[in-house]
């Protein structure tokens, strides 16, 4: 049963990913990207990383997609399709990506991964993730956690500063 669900999800994800990179209407391709992100969240839920799946749903599928939709509405007429890509470029990109995918998949399939037995696999809950994030001892991740908080703060301030540059310049000129 899980196997069938996994196959359905992966076929949907690949189809929507292809549609997201090839559709000429920008708004539609954003919605197709949303379906790919939802499929990834479903796989996270299936391998029992519930916290990560929730983060994927809220930050990626919720936040980033809304950001994209807003900026597309600000800069583009929704019914204007993107210009056609010339076929030479498309052929080149297709050859590059197919060759890369074939090479990587053969490398993965020929490598012998050592599977851990099902019974030994332990469940990862939010409790463990939170303790690991705030642990400053061995196997603790407090330093990257703090660095990421500084990064998010800097990105927030930077985004506001960059988006308002034009207005600031005009104000200075008028003074």
């Amino acid at each position: 049963m899980e196997r069938i669900i996994f196959y359905i999800i992966s076929v949907l994800m690949i189809t929507f990913a292809v549609m997201a990179v090839s559709n000429r209407n920008l708004m539609r391709s954003i919605i197709y990207l949303l379906f790919v992100l939802l499929g990834t969240a479903a796989i996270y839920f299936m391998i029992e990383f519930y916290f990560l799946g929730a983060v994927q749903l809220t930050v990626y599928a919720g936040g980033i997609i809304v950001l994209y939709v807003n900026s597309v509405m600000l800069v583009e007429k929704i019914n204007n399709p993107l210009p056609e890509v010339n076929s030479k470029r498309r052929l080149l990109a297709g050859i590059i990506s197919t060759a890369g995918a074939a090479l990587t998949i053969t490398a993965i399939l020929s490598y012998n991964f050592v599977h851990i037995a099902e019974s030994k696999a332990t469940e990862t809950n939010i409790d463990k993730v939170g303790k690991a994030l705030l642990n400053y001892g061995d196997k603790g991740y407090i330093l990257p956690f703090e660095v990421i908080s500084i990064l998010l703060l800097a990105a927030m301030a930077g985004a506001i500063a960059i988006a308002k540059t034009n207005k600031l310049k005009k104000n200075n000129e008028s003074k």
């Binding site: 899980e2 996994f6 992966s10 994800m13 690949i14 990913a17 292809v18 997201a20 990179v21 391709s29 990207l33 790919v36 992100l37 990834t40 796989i43 996270y44 299936m46 029992e48 990383f49 990560l52 983060v55 930050v59 990626y60 936040g63 980033i64 950001l67 994209y68 900026s71 600000l74 800069v75 210009p83 890509v85 470029r89 080149l92 990109a93 590059i96 990506s97 995918a101 990587t104 998949i105 993965i108 399939l109 991964f113 050592v114 599977h115 851990i116 696999a121 332990t122 463990k128 993730v129 994030l133 990257p144 990421i148 990064l151 998010l152 990105a155 930077g158 985004a159 988006a163 034009n166």
Partner: protein, 105 residues
């Protein structure tokens, strides 16, 4: 661990999505569409981290925490890049990569 699904199948799916992202990054000429392809690539990378953590090192937490950081960095990157793109659009009224010729406005 998904019952009946081996690590090879999940890694194959994430590889295919990664290279679809590469295809989009090469063919697209609109800045927002290129950023969307980068999003696909990052998503496939995060999926790989999680799957390898679950199947090969079930007691460790490194993969989960690394994917959390990937998601946070992707959010920051998207916010900044979209701010730059909107500012650029107000200055040159275009999002095509061929029209971007100068770095300083």
């Amino acid at each position: 661990m998904i019952f009946g699904v081996s690590i090879y199948e999940i890694l194959t799916v994430s590889t295919i999505i990664f290279f679809i992202g590469i295809y989009g990054f090469v063919t697209r000429k609109n800045l927002i569409a290129m950023l969307m392809s980068v999003e696909l690539i990052l998503n496939a990378g995060a999926l790989n981290f999680v799957v390898i953590n679950k199947y090969l090192f079930p007691d460790a937490l490194g993969g989960v925490i690394f994917s959390l950081f990937i998601i946070a960095v992707a959010a920051a990157e998207t916010a900044l890049a979209l701010a730059i793109i909107i500012n650029l659009y107000r200055l040159i009224m275009s999002l095509k990569t061929d029209d971007l010729e100068t770095m300083k406005f």
